[in-house]
């Protein structure tokens, strides 16, 4: 296992090199880089070996996600999407669907998850996308927005209303009736290929095993997939904090003002201390949530919300502090701390905003403590 982990990390190190700054400025990741990583199963390393995956435990997947997040949050965002699709197939798919799609997801196919709609963001229950099963045909119609990775994806996991409940459907991005339009100039994770997706009477053969979880209540379906995504985002935020720590400490040690290193100026030193604590506390929250996942503990759902909320808040604050420490040295787009500053802010919004997370956690607190 250690070998697989080291090999995957090396693949990412080689693929990213010193290019993350350029990808951020260009707003794109090179296609060949993504394909190579996807073909090695590196974008969803939690998939088990029986389906061609690397078989990482949640704990290993977490550390790996943090590593990717420390190098490039756009790439980490794509991992989060690929991982959510793989998990949805694993959780809700029948055996033949798992065999087909998990193999594809670990051998080069890129996938994205379509939740949000123009009128259904935090209130996902308001989504109006319809998935209809007629005979042996599945029809999908609706509008999705801000779909991470959709600009690169071969496969879109689209959530919608279905019969008395909900369903998810695996839509090939090149199916007739699918239109993918890049979001212009996203503020953060700029190279993550965010796009709006129009589905206009898209018709697929049900025999292809494209329909997942037909009839399950929407919130069940979404909660399960989002839990996987939140854990991934939380670890990604740990990665952001680690990148900020490395940049801030290195700069504060090397740069001298008033005859001594910045790190010896107390107000700067405090930033470094707070960053250190933020990284450690976020890591512990994530480790706990991943352990809950690995143990199949019922606490995994709320632990993932808590970890995501905490780590995203810490990453946003920590990245702002890192920009402050580097000052003009980091204040240009593309720079690692400038990216962290913009990327971390999006992490307070995605996969359940801080406020939605707080609502969920408040309810959990009432259930637990009254």
């Amino acid at each position: 296992m250690a070998d697989r982990y080291a090999a995957a990390a090396e693949l990412v190190a080689e693929a990213v090199g010193s290019d993350a700054d350029g990808w951020d400025l260009a707003g794109r990741l090179p296609d060949d880089v993504l394909r190579r990583l996807a073909a090695h199963g590196v974008l969803c390393p939690g998939v088990s070996a029986e389906f061609g995956g690397l078989g990482f435990t949640a704990a290993e997947l977490g550390e790996f996600t943090a590593y990717v997040g420390s190098r490039c949050s756009s790439l980490r965002s794509l991992m989060t999407s690929q991982g959510m699709v793989a998990w949805a197939v694993r959780r809700f798919g029948e055996q033949h669907q798992q065999a087909t799609y998990l193999r594809r997801l670990t051998s080069g196919t890129l996938a994205a998850v379509a939740f949000s709609e123009p009128r259904a963001g935090s209130d996902l229950a308001a989504m109006t996308t319809r998935i209809t099963l007629t005979g042996d045909r599945v029809e999908v119609s609706g509008s999705k927005v801000w779909v991470t990775g959709a600009a690169y994806a071969d496969l879109l996991l689209v959530f919608g209303q279905h019969a008395d409940g909900a369903a998810a459907v695996l839509v090939p991005a090149d199916a007739p009736g699918v239109r993918v339009t890049r979001v212009a100039d996203p503020m953060g994770c700029r190279a993550a290929g965010h796009a709006d997706v129009e589905l206009d009477g898209v018709t697929l053969a049900a025999a292809d095993g494209v329909l997942l979880a037909a009839g399950l209540p929407l919130d069940w379906l979404i909660t399960s997939v989002l839990t996987h995504g939140r854990l991934s985002v939380a670890w990604g935020c740990v990665g952001i904090l680690r990148a900020c720590l490395a940049a801030a400490t290195t700069h504060a040690q090397a740069r001298e003002q008033f005859g001594k290193p910045l790190a010896e100026h107390q107000l700067v030193a405090r930033h470094l201390a707070e960053l250190l604590v933020a990284e450690q506390a976020s890591t512990r929250m994530c480790e706990h949530a991943s352990r809950c996942w690995d143990n199949g503990s019922p606490q995994q759902v709320t632990a993932a919300v808590a970890a995501k909320h905490f780590a995203a808040t810490q990453a946003a604050r920590g990245a702002a502090a890192a920009v402050q420490v580097l000052a003009s040295a980091g204040a240009r787009d593309g720079h690692v701390v400038a990216r962290a500053y913009r990327d971390a802010k999006l992490m307070e919004i995605i996969e359940g905003s801080s406020e939605i997370s707080q609502l969920l956690l408040a309810r959990h607190a009432r259930e637990l403590w009254t």
Binding site: D219, T223, S224, T227, V301, V305, R363
Partner: protein, 90 residues
């Protein structure tokens, strides 16, 4: 997910689930009460319940088995667990 084949009676499963729900939600339910229709438990809890059932009774609830009808009440979950354990050879 480990699978257990040690025999377990329906009433043991049922009692275990009632205790778990009481522990998690501070609410006492009967085996027949509709857990979701009445807003008794949240959607977050639904996924916790699925995870609990899998880890406690050594079953994997996947694909077509993962539907609301199988989790609507303690009685329905008990039936599901017994059926899945039978499939495990227990």
């Amino acid at each position: 997910m480990s699978t257990s084949t040690a025999p377990i009676e329906a009433h043991e499963i049922s009692n275990n689930l009632v205790e778990f729900i009481a522990r998690q939600t501070k609410k006492t339910v009967t085996a027949e009460v509709d857990l979701f229709g009445t807003g008794l438990v949240s959607s977050l809890f639904a996924m916790q319940l699925v995870a609990y059932v899998e880890s406690t009774f050594g079953v994997a609830v996947q694909g077509p088995d993962l539907k609301l009808a199988n989790f609507r009440s303690v009685a329905a979950i008990t039936e599901l667990v017994l059926r899945l354990r039978e499939g495990n050879g227990g």
